[in-house]
């Protein structure tokens, strides 16, 4: 996957809690057998009406967000279904960073396996970012080498990310290759491990 060290981009604010993966990518688009091309279906039921026309009242349809690459959302972001099509769709649309006060576990994991950086900030901080982004075209920089998020007007926040996913993201490693360096240990383990 593509490594991510530092990233600057336009913020798209999505001020809703419990955004589930059914919303991020509805089930009618899960029938494809490739990883590509899901961006066009991102938030489909929010972006498009019954006649597949863009809904004017959904902000992501505004042309300026077509270049957004940092999404700031509400708590429990990515809850529900384990579908990895959700990060695939976000990534294909152009998002590299998702910031929220909390994430659902599986979604969080799925992001880190696809080179998307999920960042947990305090709710006061995410609300600040959402306010800024709702007011104007708002650029933010994320630095995974220093675990910091900042803008040009003095906003700065630090975040934590466990060392393992952090290294995976910084280096863009293929996890299976890493694991296969331990293949002998797995073989050894299997010799005495009982499975009925």
């Amino acid at each position: 996957m593509e490594p991510i060290k530092q990233h600057s981009g336009l913020v798209y604010p999505l001020n809703r809690a419990n955004v589930d993966t059914d919303q991020i990518i509805p089930k009618q688009f899960l029938k494809r057998i490739s990883r590509q091309g899901f961006g066009q279906f991102l938030f489909y039921n929010w972006r498009f009406d019954e006649k597949d026309q863009p809904r004017k009242d959904f902000s992501l349809n505004s042309p300026k967000y077509s270049h957004a690459s940092i999404l700031v959302g509400g708590e429990n972001f990515g809850c529900g279904s384990s579908r990895e099509h959700a990060p695939w769709a976000l990534q294909d649309f152009g998002f590299r960073v998702i910031i929220a006060p909390s994430f659902a576990d599986i979604f969080f994991n799925n992001c880190t396996k696809n080179g998307i950086l999920p960042i947990v900030l305090k709710e006061t901080e995410t609300q600040q970012l959402i306010k800024n982004a709702e007011a104007t075209d708002y650029q933010l920089t994320v630095d995974l080498t220093t675990n910091k998020v900042y803008d040009q007007n003095g906003f700065e926040a630090s975040f934590d990310l466990a060392e393992y996913p952090r290294q995976m993201l910084l280096n863009g490693w293929d996890e299976i290759s890493v694991t296969l360096t331990h293949a002998d240990k797995i073989t050894e383990f299997e010799k005495s491990h009982i499975v009925y």
């Binding site: 059914d22 089930k27 494809r32 057998i33 279904s81 799925n110 393992y164 299976i176 797995i186």
Partner: protein, 467 residues
């Protein structure tokens, strides 16, 4: 003597292959379940890198999400068909056993694992599906994974995991008449919210859990993910052992005796400590109905639709308003006066034989309300066959329910079983998210008994007084 341990710690220790401090551990996976929707990209990944499946025999595949539940011999949806054919080809290529369409073991992945005896206490089980938590009912550590992890497990039979925190959900008391496992789990999520389990593995304990059947325990563990927990489990006991004895893939004879002793020894030791504990009193739980667009937006059948003005904070107020608009409901309306147009009895939460029997017991010669379309979708071919032997299909059909072939069906409406826009469905599934059962469809989660009663009444009704 070593200090008392939870079942979660015992399974963890048994299955860690390799560990370095400060890093996730490499955890061995004993059973990998596969279905058509979340696997094609994983197999493709293996092919691109020339990798093999490490343990095809510890892998088992079926088709459930996409399958039609009527006219199953011709699959009209070409895209769905391609996905199913792809799974079949992948399983052939990599040597993985599969219960495809038409196979006597085909069914919803979380229904067939247990009924075939593949699901066993102490196993680590993964599947590219968040309701893998269902298998925890047997005292297995079972959780959903994404497609990249599916590929990883196929290639290595392991997964990198941080040691989970443990959460004891203690449910004491007794279930009242007409109150089910489904009502317990809904009441629990209503009480503590949709993310109280995030970062934890839940163990369900207490008198009410001990007295539940395996089917009831599966219903509870199934919805752990709706509380944010990737896994939820119940320590094995005699109920667990009795369920597994004689199942196709369960050990037999002396091996079974040996396995049984081992399984029972996995139960949490008295005095073991959890990172956190929450409680619920089963005596106080009434039949539940969700009114909103996440499973915590749920009230007892005696309740009224909540008022956004009485929300605890602006965020919650926002959420309630949004949900009421989507659901087409008004604050203050008693839930038992809300009319419905659809009933869905099925899904990995509530489509086992016991669920269908309990739903059927409500019918008592009555008919489905003329304004309601009601379908029953058994969880597996085996459930369907057993139900038909007991004449349940006839009971349902005579009452005006449609009797279908097994699959996920209207739980996520990937096939043609869809709730039309703006229409309302009483559903025994697990997610009432926007659009889950169809674009702009309105889902209310209930138990099988409550769904059957609503089908007959044409609106939600308290099963306890629905004589």
């Amino acid at each position: 003597m070593s200090s008392p341990k939870t079942i979660i710690e015992k399974i963890w220790e048994k299955n860690v292959v390799y560990e370095e401090s400060g890093k996730p551990a490499l955890l061995y996976i004993d059973l990998h379940l596969v279905h058509e929707v979340t696997s094609p990209q994983a197999f493709e990944g293996l092919r691109l890198k020339g990798r093999k499946v490490r343990q095809p025999k510890r892998t088992f595949a079926t088709m459930d999400h996409n399958v039609p539940t009527i006219h199953t011999n011709v699959i009209k949806d070409e895209v769905s068909k391609l996905q199913m054919d792809t799974l079949k080809k992948n399983c052939q290529e990599f040597g993985i056993p599969i219960a495809a369409m038409g196979h006597k073991h085909q069914g919803i992945v979380h229904v067939i694992g247990p009924e075939l005896g593949l699901t066993q206490p102490g196993k680590t089980i993964v599947c590219g599906d968040s309701h893998t938590s269902t298998h925890g009912a047997f005292g297995a550590l079972a959780f959903g994974i994404g497609t990249s992890e599916v590929e990883h497990v196929l290639a290595t039979q392991t997964i990198w995991q941080a040691k989970p925190k443990t959460l004891n959900v203690k449910i004491d008391g007794q279930l009242g008449t007409g109150v089910t496992a489904k009502d317990l789990i809904l009441a629990l999520i209503a009480k503590y919210g949709v993310n109280f389990g995030t970062g934890y593995v839940i163990e369900y304990t207490g008198e009410a859990i001990r007295t539940l059947s395996m089917e009831g325990r599966m219903t509870i563990c199934n919805m752990s993910i709706e509380a944010g927990a990737r896994a939820g489990l119940v320590s094995p006991d005699q109920t667990t052992v009795n369920y597994l004895e004689g199942r196709e893939y369960a050990p037999k004879g002396t091996e079974f005796e040996q396995a049984k002793a081992e399984w029972l020894s996995l139960a949490t030791d008295p005095g073991a400590r959890y990172d956190h504990t929450v409680t619920l009193n089963a005596d106080e739980v009434e039949p539940q109905v969700t009114w909103g667009t996440n499973p915590s937006q749920c009230i007892p059948i005696s309740g009224q639709i909540p008022n956004p003005d009485q929300a605890k904070n602006p965020n919650e107020q926002n959420e309630i308003k949004h949900a009421l608009t989507y659901m087409g409901l008004e604050a203050g309306v008693p839930i038992n006066s809300v009319p419905i147009e659809h009933v869905f009895i099925g899904s990995c939460t509530n489509s086992r034989l016991k669920d269908l029997e309990q739903a059927a017991s409500i019918i008592k010669g009555r008919k489905v309300n003329p304004n309601v379309r009601a379908i029953v979708v058994p969880g597996s071919q085996s459930v369907k066959q057993q139900a038909e032997q007991k004449g349940l299909d006839q009971l349902f059909k005579q009452a005006g329910f449609e009797w279908r072939e097994p699959g996920c069906s209207m739980c996520l409406a990937m096939n043609s079983d869809v709730v039309p826009p703006g229409e309302r469905c009483a559903s025994t599934s697990n997610r009432n998210f926007e659009g889950r059962q169809g674009t702009d469809a309105r889902t209310h989660l209930v138990s099988p008994e409550m769904a059957a009663a609503a089908a007959i009444a044409g609106h939600f009704v308290d099963v306890r007084t629905f004589a």
